[in-house]
Subunit: 418 residues, 2 copies
């Protein structure tokens, strides 16, 4: 497997060639996200990501778009709680052009006040779009319950008010604090040549601040609670969270197997009970989500209002059942699913680069697929049952509802033992 190396200015580089491909993904990831924001800064990490595309010392916003698209490439970016990625998908001859643009927007953005005024309103529209989607809204509300009054519990997009309050000074402050060479990783995969990319990255990131210290992140803690956004719509959308473990916890992979066995695929307990046996829902699933220092088990179900309480009871019941009588066969199946999902993810250039950057930020190095498979192999039935018991007993659930609902009855169904 390719290895992470540190270049002279402190930027780390990971280049992963994939034989047989004609295209590549290349991106720059900053260990900077919504978790790093103060209350006042809420939404800055994401607004900054938007503004990076709005012009540099040598390119207007339109030139950035035209340059990459004239070679058939595309640029995109994604802000999450723990990191922000800026990346391009291009044909193999255009990797250096992509890198030149990425380095330009990240080392020399203008943050023009006129552009900023317009882009704030674009983000306000993005917030409106998310609010109108029950699926987005129910998960955003869930996050505020899980990590109440913490940066991890505030929306990545910010609020309409917070976004409109951000001037260029706040963007510059966040960028100066977190976008320095030692806090950046360039990752590329596909039809790539490591030495050519290393030379280009050496040349395009300035040698400043290389020894800068990264400010410590707040250590998040799970809270839980109930919130209901009553809307007169067709379905009651219910998103639940229970305590989980951090990405660095020894049970991190046992948690993933737990989530997979509970509600990961068609053979999972939630799918079989709630959809196949009862016909209560079209969408029902669970997932494990982890941050560097916290983690959750999440569950989603969308059902008619009249079935919302029953569906919630069944979620609780299946979690309790799994804690008691999970079988070896279910663990084997979940393990096989996670292993093949891992392998198929590695067949995508962007998937490889993004995963490597995330692992490097959390563990100091990209984790080879063979090592992940080995960690999955080690998980036992007892490990998974322990995870289920922890999620049931280590704190109160977070219960987010969007749509028509008897919130107190849902809370009772999710929270009470049977």
């Amino acid at each position: 497997m390719a290895e992470l190396r540190t270049l002279s200015h402190g930027v780390r580089l990971f280049v992963d060639p994939m034989p047989g491909l004609e295209s590549a993904a290349i991106g720059v990831w900053a260990k900077a996200g919504a978790i790093d924001e103060t209350l006042e800064e809420n939404g800055v990490a994401h607004l900054l990501e938007h503004m990076a595309f709005k012009g540099t010392g040598k390119r207007t916003a339109r030139q950035i778009a035209e340059e990459i698209e004239s070679v058939g490439g595309y640029l995109n970016a994604e802000t999450s709680y723990q990191r922000t990625g800026y990346y391009a998908r291009v044909l193999k001859g255009d990797i250096e052009l992509a890198l030149d643009i990425l380095a330009d927007i990240l080392t020399d953005p203008l943050f023009d006040e006129g552009e900023l005024a317009k882009e704030r309103e674009v983000v306000v529209q993005e917030i409106g779009e998310a609010a109108d989607s029950p699926d987005d809204a129910v998960h955003e509300q869930l996050q505020t319950l899980i990590f109440k009054d913490q940066s991890l519990g505030r929306p990545i997009l910010g609020s309409v008010e917070s976004v409109r309050s951000h001037g260029r000074g706040r963007l510059r402050g966040f960028m100066d604090r977190l976008y320095f060479p030692g806090n950046l990783i360039v990752a590329a995969a596909g039809a790539v040549d490591e030495e050519a990319i290393a030379r280009a990255v050496e040349a395009r990131f300035p040698k400043v601040n290389a020894a800068k210290e990264r400010p410590a992140r707040p250590s998040p803690h799970y809270v839980g609670g109930l919130a209901a956004d009553e809307r007169d719509i067709e379905q009651t959308h219910i998103a639940l969270a229970f305590p989980g473990v951090s990405a660095r916890h020894e049970d991190a992979y046992a948690m993933r197997i737990f989530a997979e066995a509970l509600g990961g695929g068609m053979a999972s307990r939630l799918f079989q009970t709630i959809r196949e046996e009862r016909g209560l829902a079209y969408s029902v699933y669970s997932y494990a989500h982890s941050y560097d220092e916290a983690g959750i088990l999440g569950v989603y179900v969308g059902a008619d209002a009249e079935n919302a309480v029953l569906a919630s009871e069944l979620v609780r019941q299946e979690m309790e059942g799994l804690a008691e009588n999970l079988t070896e066969q279910e663990v084997e199946r979940a393990r096989a699913m996670l292993k093949s999902t891992l392998l198929m993810g590695l067949e995508s250039p962007y998937g490889r680069a993004d995963a490597a950057a995330g692992q490097a930020f959390t563990f100091g190095r990209p984790i080879p697929a063979a090592e992940i498979r080995e960690l999955l192999e080690r998980v036992t039935v007892e490990d998974v049952r322990r995870c289920a018991a922890r999620s049931l007993n280590d704190g109160k659930p977070a219960i987010s509802i969007v749509g028509p609902a008897d919130a107190a009855a849902v809370e009772k169904a999710v929270g009470a033992a049977h």
Copy 2:
């Protein structure tokens, strides 16, 4: 490039090996979709797709799920207007297992009445989920305007009433009419071996009905019109359609370049005008969609109610501007984008198999990428301007609105010349 071959029972086979991969996609596509439904049958194509997974003569629904997931594979299916695809993503050693399951669910489904009663309610929940998403709702409403009172204008999911009216007899009738060997294509891509798959397909599809005639499809015609679903939500979601061309039309690729130049990427006219210059929207895009005998240009924009009319005016204005002064550079950029999207799509096993099946149904053969590139190369500025003029002048727009809106003002803005 791999070729389409016809096996002894009439099923056609396309196998496309991709060196370097460890996984594969394999699926069975039926040339059967919502376009083939009578009014009474609305939703049957999709309900049949769901019921295929609900048990066969030798496997229960749970066994189907457990067998594929125990090897880490996953099964999925998709019903569109023109075809229905059932496919698996598996590691290379599990292709024959996947094919065995796919053949089983398509040649020996039980359509058990008890399972059907539950699955109808699952689909009713799926309909509710789509209704709650403004983005889904606005596009579904658009489709009813474009092809008013035709099978192409009815929702693929059906209505709550139509879905609840379907018994097993209606499913059997639809299946007997359209799921016969000559109307099926098996396509596979990735880590695949053509001869092994050919032998397995020969063995697993029965030799019946091979010479059956496919019933003719209705020939759809574009209608257009206005519909507004007033909701008290954050954004006004606007989906527009204008006359386009069928997949078989000589301007099919010129239409795609038109849609790309108008609103395909960041450098496109709609993105630059509506998002970059004015900050009116987060999501704004256009697309060309074609069926075998009809096609449209579609546009979407989500904006504040107070900006909905302005945004609509700007869409009209940019279409008219493009018809008059589209540049060679814009055509070149759109062409480069479409060529690289094509190439990157071919790097996904499922993308390859699905595209080949669709092309085989429409053109009688999968179209090699080199041929598509050649067709894109031939498109001239005049061709694209002609497409723009056709969309503006060959019929009235279809205007679908979900959210708060002055529908008459939006209609005036979209419909009237400036």
